[in-house]
Amino acid sequence: MDATIHITLFSLGVAALGTLLILPGGVALGWLLARKCWYGKALVETFVALPLVMPPVATGLILLKLLGRRGPLGPFLEAVGADIVFTWKAVVIAAAVMAIPLLVRNARVAFEEVPERLEQVARTLGAGPWRVFFTITLPLASRGLCAGVVLAFARALGEFGATAMVAGFIPGETVTLSLGIYHKVQLGRDTEAFLLLAISASLAFGAVILSELLLRKRRLAHNG
């Protein structure tokens, strides 16, 4: 039972940390995609969507090669003393990368739904771009952003393929709910697997319900 609680808390912590890690950049990128025209925008959009359409194991392999000692970032990581591959940090990074598309896409839609006219009027009332962003754009996009955060969190929580590739299965160190379920089934310990499954399903169900509620409230607000 202790192991189950540990796996659950570890998974929640990793998913939360992964989501937090991509939150500022994801929101900023969502805003840039929604509001600005810039060179290479289509390329960045495609790149951001890749983890959504590529096999997670393939994304994991890219991360493994990128962060491994002999990878392009290896010497730098070694220089700063950061050992990432096959540690809990790799689990966080895998979760974060897999959650990026959901966060950025939801942020983009949330910002697109804020009428630009309101931002323009705020400018004529003496507010600079930052004040407009924090007092008009962000509050009006907040429900959509929150829904995006919840979905990104749920995606991070359910991550399996990339995590297995870049973090492996190290009991007490890198085992998440998904990895735990797989491992228990492999060992034929179905009861324990079903317990982890029930926890996983409950958390995912709660996250989707929460995001639906947020989006529904946003639709009602927009419809007046």
């Binding site: 009428p115 006219r117 309101l118 323009q120 009027v121 705020a122 400018r123 004529t124 009332l125 003496g126 507010a127 600079g128 007092t135 008009i136 509050p139 009006l140 607000a221 007046g224």
Partner: protein, 250 residues
């Protein structure tokens, strides 16, 4: 107030605006049918669009001049803007909308107001004159069309603008609401002494409000003058545009 638009040029894919006008008065009208370029011109004056070429100046202040790259951003122009739908911030109540821009324009630049109004612009005076005391704690989504426009006008005034741009503020209102809001525009012009640029495609509005009217069509200025000159004489261009719009007999 003297508004000078010199060799102004702006274009998008299917539309181009090209004009030079100098207009002077307490209230200036912009008249034209849909697609004439009225809103584009308003947005250029407000600083919400950058002109491709030309200069815009208000009294002695150059707001934009492509020749020397000068472009005053909208938050520093001290030019208020009331769009057709009022554009109230839906997540704030009426009071929070009103105080959003209080005193910001004049504080930011340290410029003394050149207004000649009898009544100073204060929260209390605006609330009283625009009759919005009963609305202060209401959510803006629960306001009627007329109430929304009154709050939008009040909010724009409270930022102490040197000039107020009104983009068809009455067009979405029914006759009763229009009759209630229109006198407020005269009050803003006279009591508070804020010069107006008023956009409409209803000629009768200009007689009651504006000293000068510019007639726009397809991004060009066809004529400018007093409302009587523009609309009264049958062969006038303003009359012809209005007649065409309302199918009046030539």
């Amino acid at each position: 107030m003297k508004l000078n638009l010199s060799s102004l040029h702006w274009h998008a894919s299917a539309f181009s605006l090209k004009l030079s006008i100098e207009l002077e008065g307490r209230a200036i009208g912009l008249f034209g049918n849909s697609g004439a370029g009225k809103t584009t011109l308003i947005e250029l004056i407000a600083g919400l669009r950058r002109p491709d070429a030309g200069a815009i100046s208000l009294d002695q202040t150059v707001l934009s001049n492509t020749a020397d790259g000068r472009f005053v951003p909208p938050e520093l122009r001290e030019v208020g803007y009331v769009p057709q739908d009022g554009a109230l911030f839906p997540h704030l109540n009426v009071y929070a909308n009103l105080v959003y821009g209080v005193g910001r324009c004049s504080r930011r630049n340290g410029v003394e107001s050149t207004r000649t109004g009898k009544i100073p612009i204060t929260l209390e005076s605006i609330i009283e004159r625009l009759d919005i005391a009963a609305l202060l704690q209401r959510q803006v989504t629960h306001l009627s069309g007329g109430e929304r426009q009154r709050v939008s006008l009040a909010r724009a005034l409270l930022a102490s603008p040197r000039l107020l741009l009104l983009d068809e503020p009455l067009s979405s209102l029914d006759a009763d609401h229009k009759d209630a809001v229109f006198p407020l525009l005269q009050r803003i012009r006279d009591d508070f002494g804020v010069p107006l640029v008023y956009v409409s495609h209803a000629p009768e509005d200009f007689f009651a409000l504006c000293d000068r009217v510019a007639v726009l069509s397809e991004g060009r200025c066809l004529a400018a003058g007093a409302p009587a000159e523009i609309f009264a004489a049958r062969p006038s261009i303003g009359y012809r545009l209005a007649a065409n719009r309302f199918n009046a007999p030539e």
